[in-house]
Symmetry: C2
Subunit: 325 residues, 2 copies
């Protein structure tokens, strides 16, 4: 799609992925609207949109119907809002249910009423697969989440799938692996391992790894994820509802940490899984992204060292907004 | 388990399966407590417990924590509460989410707090499988619900699975096929095809079949389901979280309807699927119940004609309480 002059909505547009999408869309000339209520702990940061003239509706996505007037005539919806923390979901499952499931259902029902058939790209997660039964994981891997966050994100993905099947929306569900890059929250430990690693590297503090560090991840750089979202939204009624979005290669956590430790001049420390973490660890993960490659021609192009360099450069320039002293 | 003197909770104990369980448990000498808020349309009927001295807590299962005193010392929980209507869930997904997911999460968190490790048998449904990819369906069939009811029941089953894995409860999830028998609601068309068939047969009215009637179901008689629940609850920490509960044989809907039409002296009419029904039709279904047979030694023993005869006998005796004129 040529996004010039197109009206698009980004939910969670103050958060990590949403803000990168919103900025890129604004650069492409789109009329971007952000819907984000800055839920505590979910990574919203007003600074993420600094320098861009993007209107923000400060409300929960579940209240989208209240803003029908401002949301009229959308060409595409990038539905990025959510709480991604697995560990928070175990501490407070009802909060996670409200944020990731109930609010999403209310949002989608509002969308269906306001603009039937609208194009929606939803940020789902590898988390829905649970403990991998085989690697790399394809979209046909069984869905078997092992924490509340995965259960709730999976229910929301199912809503998109059902409403897609009935033609009420035209939805694609991206199952994202670990995403990293500029604008990710660094000061919320519950938001995942990569933010933690970057924070430690930027602070020159030891990077802690739970377990032996042999478990693999395939981090994907944010610009590649934004590309995937934009490409997806520019097509209609794709033949698959679910598309995996993985990184260019799978690396052991110790190697991921090592790259950051080298860049930050800090050391690595191995420690046992703390209470509550081991039960929701999934071991190694890597993505088979061949379906999305075949469907819309997307591939991740940013190798990990290059992505790390760009990410650190961003945070060194904007440090005070992400790591206040 | 010898249930004599044992304190047990039946959620949804005024409904079809719950009330049959509660009555059988009372007959076995258990101290039965029912928790049921008689949600409109879910099949609760005070008459279902007539003749039994079973206390009923009239509240939503989500408020179980308020009744901690009365729920102290439970030996087992039969968690049968829920809304089973697929079609209602499509009309009002938020209501279905509240009844089948949110309330279940609140209930389980309350149970965990009140009585960690308690034995729970949860009534899940074949609905979570969606459109069968193979028949008969085993527990390893992919979970892929095609309506909101299936999504929400699946989320609740996932809660049981997660809390089982963490040892917070000792849960078994029974994936029930179509259940029929005494005490099922006959005057709620949304509650499923078998209630509809029985009502028509009892009224001597034509039995309507959507489509060609070749789609198969494997109805299971309520007494067999009660047996499965009681056997399950009498064992601890079973090796499988999910157990299919199917009927003794798969029959075409036309044959099922035919048996009832013969018993009721009425005719069968074939008609097209009405608006909203076709999209949530799953085609044929039949259960592979070999896992539960191997795990706890349960098999369905009531053949369909015998079950039909017993069911009609019950309703002819108690007609006024189920089919008020």
């Amino acid at each position: 799609m040529n996004y010039t002059g197109k009206k698009v909505l980004v939910t969670g547009g103050l958060g990590f992925i949403g803000s990168n999408l919103a900025c890129r869309l604004a650069e492409a000339g789109a009329k971007v609207v952000v819907l984000d209520s800055s839920v505590q702990g979910c990574g919203a940061n007003r600074r993420n949109l600094a320098g861009y003239d993007i209107p923000v509706i400060d409300d929960d996505i579940g209240n989208a119907a209240r803003h029908a007037e401002r949301l009229r005539g959308l060409e595409a919806v990038f539905n990025m809002a959510g709480e991604i923390s697995h560990i928070n979901s175990m501490r407070d499952p009802l909060r996670d249910l409200e944020l990731n499931t109930t609010a999403q259902l209310r949002f989608l029902l509002a969308l269906r009423a306001m603009q039937p058939g609208v194009r929606v790209v939803y940020a789902s997660t590898r988390q829905v697969y649970g403990v991998p039964q085989f690697l790399p994981i394809t979209e046909s891997h069984p869905v078997n989440p092992i924490d509340f966050n995965g259960v709730h994100k999976n229910a929301a993905a199912s809503y998109h799938r059902l409403l897609n099947a009935s033609g009420d929306v035209d939805a694609t569900i991206l199952r994202l692996t670990n995403v990293y890059g500029p604008r990710m929250a660094l000061n919320i430990p519950e938001q995942g391992v990569l933010g933690h690693f970057f924070r430690r590297a930027l602070n020159g503090e030891p990077i802690e790894i739970f377990g032996h560090g042999e478990q693999q991840r395939d981090p994907v750089y944010i610009d590649d994820v934004v590309d995937a979202c934009l490409l997806c939204a520019s097509r209609h009624r794709l033949p698959h509802a679910n598309l995996n979005v993985g990184g260019p290669e799978a690396l052991p956590l110790a190697e991921i940490a090592g790259a950051l430790a080298a860049a930050g001049g800090c050391e690595i420390r191995f420690r046992d899984f703390p209470e509550g973490h081991k039960s929701i660890d999934i071991g190694s993960y890597s993505t088979d992204s061949s379906r999305i490659a075949a469907t819309i021609g997307w591939k991740p192009v940013t190798l990990f060292p290059a992505g790390v360099a760009k990410t650190l450069e961003y945070y060194r320039e904007h440090r005070s907004h992400y790591l206040p002293s």
